[in-house]
């Protein structure tokens, strides 16, 4: 990404900015340390501020988050003047008040995933003054995240999401202890990390991780505020709290892989995870403060298109649930050994797409092979089987678009195009099939060969391979 404009000079300014920001951070930390010494009296009891901004780089994570005095509250339980001012609008709420704010400031909350859901969760939890905020994520910020993952700024593209999110939270509220867990949550590290927090927020983007977090929360007896969003819909509930079910009570067996839509395939309107994430922050605050009725044993279903929210009653925790049932034999050792990716047949990431392998080698060509076909002016027809709205984003010209779902009924159209091409070139054209990643193109070629198009071949890796190996300027999406 060139980004436009004054290359060298821009770099110099950015370097200078980076240096100045680091200096400012250092100064801020020293100021907070001195202030905390003034507040607490003789040389910092625990030094809350000095410890702040810890990075947990290891898998076992040695930073403890539990059982510390709440931020801002003096040991005698009174609120210092600046905290009264800062949280005054909370304190004015009769149902919330000083007690609510005190509980909040003593709570530790873990947000798993710093993406579309996690962004508003972390921002609101930091702003509202929780005691300790942990953020787990192993990914880096990408440009195509920014339309919905509003915690991240352009300057952080390429940086770890956890660092970006933690910096944003600290900028909003320097009195909150923000802990960075810069790795993907897995059975090997989940127990250690989750154990340190009172409340867990599932803001992840994939099925195996959802099963894993739920199992982990049951084992460690933590309430789980779970949100999900895709396309124009969102879902929200609180698992394993006040008699509510766990994820396995609701979904004992995982859905078939073909039913697992992902944001990176199906798309998502940015504000939809934003709405669900805000509600997750709200539920986490309610659980932390015991104010109101959390969404236990109920699920909120949000349909953005029709502007409808429906709240439905769920079954309670199942007595014979294999994980949270009374007779469950599921142990921490079982958990650490459990293969969630195998169980769900899907990867613990939204980005790695499960790829299929349906065709013999001689029915496939690489994107480079296709490039030389074009360069040598070999007569052929390029058939793009992506959905029409994908084709409208970008395409290789000239190509014929027939979405895979309509291919069978539109075979006559294909036939006509091939005949035209044959008449124009005086030779039998070959048929090359293309899609986004090289999965649907295989399904299409399989179908075409069954229907008598014996020469049909697909391009391995689809447009992504084309963009990577042939035309670096081709827009990827």
């Amino acid at each position: 990404m060139g980004g436009g404009g004054g290359g060298r000079r821009r770099e110099e300014i950015e370097g200078e900015l980076k240096k100045l920001r680091a200096e400012r951070k250092e100064l801020d930390a020293r100021i907070r340390l001195l202030e905390s010494q003034l507040e607490v009296g003789p040389v910092g009891v625990g030094g809350a501020a000095a410890e702040e901004g810890v990075v947990d780089g290891s898998c076992d994570g040695s930073v403890a988050c539990r059982g510390r005095g709440g931020n801002g509250f003096a040991p005698d339980g009174g609120l210092p003047a600046d905290m009264i001012y800062r949280y005054s609008r909370h304190l004015l709420l009769p149902d919330f008040g000083v007690e609510g704010q005190r509980k909040l400031s003593q709570s530790s909350i873990l947000v798993v995933g710093a993406g579309g859901l996690g962004s508003p969760v972390a921002l609101y939890l930091a702003a509202c003054g929780v005691g300790c905020l942990g953020i787990v994520d192993g990914d880096d910020v990408e440009l195509n995240n920014l339309h919905r993952q509003i915690i991240h700024k352009e300057a952080y593209v390429g940086e770890p999401k956890v660092k970006s999110a933690a910096d944003a939270c600290r900028e909003i509220n320097s009195s909150v202890k923000v802990v960075e867990h810069q790795h993907t949550l897995r059975p090997c590290n989940a127990l250690e990390i989750v154990r340190k927090y009172d409340i867990i927020v599932d803001a992840t983007d994939n099925l195996p991780t959802r099963y894993m977090i739920s199992d982990c929360c049951v084992l460690l007896n933590k309430p789980l505020v779970s949100g999900a969003a895709l396309g124009l819909e969102g879902q929200l509930t609180v698992y394993h709290h006040n008699g509510s079910p766990c994820y396995r009570c609701l979904f004992p067996s995982p859905p078939p892989v073909a039913a697992c839509q992902r944001c990176s395939d199906s798309g998502v309107l940015g504000v939809v995870p934003g709405v669900i994430g805000c509600l997750q922050a709200l539920e986490a605050i309610k659980v932390a403060t015991a104010v109101g009725e959390p969404l236990c044993g109920r699920m909120l279903l949000f349909d953005a298109l029709s502007a409808r929210i429906r709240i439905v009653k769920l079954r309670g925790s199942l007595p014979d649930c294999t994980i949270c049932g009374k007779k469950s034999a599921f142990t921490e050792q079982d958990f650490q050994k459990f293969d969630y990716e195998n169980f769900t047949q899907s990867p613990m990431s939204d980005k790695t797409a499960p790829s299929v392998d349906l065709l013999p080698e001689n029915a496939r060509i690489t994107s480079r092979d296709y490039k030389s076909m074009v360069d040598n002016a070999e007569p052929h027809l390029l058939l793009d089987v992506r959905p029409t709205h994908h084709f409208q984003i970008t395409s290789i010209s000239p190509s014929l678009n027939i979405p895979l779902s309509m291919l069978e009924e539109k075979l006559p159209v294909l036939e006509t195009s091939l005949k035209k091409r044959a008449a124009a070139s005086g030779k039998e054209p070959s048929l090359v099939v293309l899609c986004r990643r090289g999965n649907d193109s295989q399904r299409a070629v399989k179908l075409l060969r069954e229907k008598g198009f014996a020469s049909a071949k697909d391009i391995i890796g689809g447009l992504q391979a084309w963009g990577r190996d042939v035309d670096p300027d081709f827009p990827v999406y």
């Binding site: 983007d205 969003a229 067996s253 995982p254 992902r262 709240i311 439905v312």
Partner: protein
């Protein structure tokens, strides 16, 4: 019997024009007086689902990962497949989402 059947969470993609809400008339099965959820499922599979029925049903129930709600209540609480429906009931089939 007049029922409203709604599909969400991506299940609507299996229906004509991806329409989410369907006001329908579901007759009892031959030789029966009542309409049960089992009957509604097989009726919907035959009359509404246009493609990939395996994405909707498995055996004689819904496929894993689909929540069924009768008048905004989990069907597990209402009797599951044997739940008996009443005039103007609203049945929602919703696929669980995993994205974020």
């Amino acid at each position: 019997m007049h029922l409203t059947l709604e599909f969400g969470g991506g299940l609507e993609l299996l229906l004509e024009n991806s329409t989410k809400v369907h006001k329908v008339e579901v007759p009892p099965k031959d030789g029966e007086e009542k309409v049960t959820m089992k009957g509604v499922l097989s009726w919907a599979k035959t009359n509404l689902i246009k493609e990939r029925p395996e994405m909707f049903v498995k055996g004689d129930s819904v496929r894993p990962g689909v929540l069924v709600l009768i008048n905004d209540c989990d069907w597990e609480i209402c009797g599951g497949l044997d739940a008996v429906l009443e005039e103007k009931d609203v049945v929602v089939f919703i696929s669980t989402l995993h994205g974020g």
